[in-house]
C-alpha cells in the first residue's frame, strides 16, 4: 500500500516538474530554430546578392571588352577602305571578314546582357576572347594581309615595266649599242620581282589560313615567318631592284647623251633636254641606300 502511494506521489511530482520545465525548454528550442532559419535566410540572401553582383560585374566587363573590340574592328575596317593600293575585291574580302567578327561580337553582347546566370555569363565572356582573338590573331592577320597585298600590287606594277624597258634595250641594241650591262641589270630586277611575287603569293595563302583555331602561338609563328619574308625577301629585293634601276638610269643616260637617237624624228629631239633636266633630281631621289632591310 505504501509502495503504491510512493509511486503515485513520485509520478505526480515528476509530472509536475516536467510540466513546469517543458515550456521553458520548448521556448528555448523554438528560439534557436528561428535563429537558425533566420541565419540561413540571411546567408541565402547574401549569397544571392553576391551572385547578382558577380553577374552584373561580369556583364559590365564583357560589355567593355566587346566595345573595345568593336572600336578596333571599325578602325581596322576604315584602314582597309581608305587604302589606295588594295583592289576592290581585296577590300571586299577583308571587310567581309571584319564584318563577320563585328556581327558575332554584337550578337554575343546581346546574349551576355540577357544572361541571368553568373556561370553562363562567365562562359560567354570568355568566348569574347577565345572565340575571336581579335588582338592576338585577327587584327595582326588583317594588317599583314594589307601589307602583303600592297607589296604585291607594287610588285605587279613594276613587273609591267619590265617588257617596256626590254623593248627600249632592244631598240638600242638594234642600233649597235652595247646593252649587255643594261640587259644584265634588267634580268636581275626581273628575277627579283619574280621571287618577291612568289614569296608574297605564298605568304598571302599562309596568312589567310590562320584562324582562331590556329591558337595564338600558332598564329604568332606564322606571322613571324611572314614578317621575316618581308624583311629578307621583299625589302632586300626592292633594295636590289632600286639599285639596278639606278644603274640603268645612268647607262640609259650615257647612251642617250651620246647623241645618237634611239627612235626617229621628234621624240629624239626632246630626249637630251628631258634627261639632262632630270639628272639632278634623279641622283637626289634615287638613293637605294635609304632602305634598311
Amino acid at each position: 500500500m505504501r509502495l503504491k502511494q510512493f509511486i503515485a506521489a513520485t509520478a505526480f511530482a515528476g509530472t509536475f516538474i516536467a510540466s513546469s520545465a517543458l515550456p521553458v525548454f520548448a521556448q528555448n528550442f523554438g528560439n534557436g530554430l528561428i535563429r537558425d532559419v533566420n541565419r540561413l535566410e540571411n546567408q541565402a540572401t547574401k549569397t544571392a546578392q553576391r551572385q547578382e553582383n558577380q553577374l552584373q560585374n561580369i556583364i559590365q566587363r564583357a560589355d567593355t571588352l566587346i566595345t573595345n573590340r568593336l572600336t578596333s574592328l571599325t578602325n581596322l575596317n576604315n584602314r582597309v577602305q581608305n587604302d589606295s593600293k588594295l583592289t576592290s575585291s581585296e577590300k571586299s574580302s577583308l571587310s567581309a571578314e571584319i564584318q563577320t567578327d563585328i556581327n558575332g561580337l554584337t550578337t554575343l553582347k546581346a546574349k551576355i546582357d540577357a544572361d541571368t546566370d553568373f556561370a553562363t555569363a562567365r562562359t560567354d565572356a570568355k568566348q569574347i576572347i577565345t572565340g575571336y582573338y581579335i588582338y592576338a590573331v585577327f587584327e595582326p592577320k588583317i594588317r599583314l594581309l594589307i601589307v602583303i597585298n600592297n607589296l604585291q600590287t607594287v610588285t605587279a606594277n613594276i613587273q609591267v615595266l619590265v617588257p617596256q624597258i626590254q623593248n627600249l634595250i632592244n631598240t638600242f641594241q638594234s642600233q649597235g649599242k652595247n646593252v649587255s650591262q643594261l640587259q644584265s641589270l634588267l634580268n636581275d630586277a626581273s628575277s627579283q620581282l619574280q621571287t618577291i611575287n612568289t614569296t608574297l603569293t605564298n605568304d598571302i595563302t599562309t596568312v589567310q589560313n590562320v584562324s582562331v583555331n590556329s591558337g595564338t602561338s600558332g598564329a604568332e609563328t606564322t606571322f613571324a615567318q611572314v614578317r621575316q619574308d618581308i624583311a629578307q625577301v621583299v625589302r632586300a629585293g626592292f633594295a636590289k631592284i632600286r639599285s639596278d634601276f639606278s644603274q640603268m638610269r645612268t647607262l640609259f643616260h650615257e647612251l642617250i647623251i651620246a647623241g645618237q637617237p634611239v627612235s626617229s624624228s621628234s621624240a629624239t629631239v626632246q630626249t637630251p633636254s628631258v634627261i639632262i633636266t632630270k639628272t639632278p633630281t634623279s641622283t637626289a631621289t634615287g638613293s637605294p641606300a635609304t632602305i634598311t632591310p
Partner: protein, 140 residues
C-alpha cells in the same frame, strides 16, 4: 419768227455755248493730248510685260534649281551611307617607255618602291603596337 428764235437749231447753239464756256479749249486739249496717254499706256503695258516676263523667267529658274536640289538632296536619306572610295588601279596605264621618258619612269618607280617600304614599316609598327595581352582570359 419767235418760234425760230425761240427754238434755234442745235448747230448754232454750239457756237453760242462755246464762247460762254472757256473750257472750250479743253476739247482741243483732249484732242491734242491723247497721244501722250496712249504712249504712256503703251509704256505701262510694255513695262508690265517685261516685269511679267522677268517674273516668269525668275520663277522658272527657281523651280528648276529647286528640282535640281531635290534630285541631289533626296537620294541621300534613302540611300545607305556607303562611302565611295577610289578604286585601286591594279595595273598602271604604262605608256611605252622611250628614251625620252625612261629616266622619269625609273625615277617614279624608285619613289613608288620607297613609298611602299615606308608604308610597310608603318603597318608593321602598328602590328607591333597591338596590345595582345587584351586577349588574355585571366580574371574571367
Amino acid at each position: 419768227m419767235e418760234t425760230q428764235s425761240a427754238n434755234p437749231s442745235p448747230t448754232p447753239n454750239i457756237p453760242q455755248d462755246a464762247p460762254s464756256n472757256p473750257p472750250q479749249e479743253t476739247p482741243v486739249a483732249t484732242a491734242q493730248n491723247p497721244a501722250k496717254p496712249r504712249n504712256q499706256k503703251h509704256i505701262y503695258i510694255i513695262l508690265a510685260l517685261i516685269v511679267l516676263i522677268l517674273f516668269v523667267a525668275g520663277s522658272y529658274t527657281l523651280m528648276m534649281s529647286g528640282k535640281k536640289t531635290q534630285t541631289t538632296v533626296n537620294p541621300q536619306p534613302t540611300s545607305l551611307p556607303v562611302a565611295v572610295y577610289p578604286t585601286a588601279i591594279t595595273t598602271p596605264a604604262v605608256t611605252p617607255i622611250t628614251s625620252s621618258n625612261v629616266d622619269q619612269t625609273l625615277n617614279n618607280t624608285d619613289t613608288t618602291m620607297q613609298q611602299a617600304i615606308n608604308q610597310t614599316d608603318t603597318d608593321l609598327n602598328s602590328i607591333n603596337n597591338i596590345d595582345k595581352s587584351q586577349d588574355s582570359t585571366n580574371g574571367l
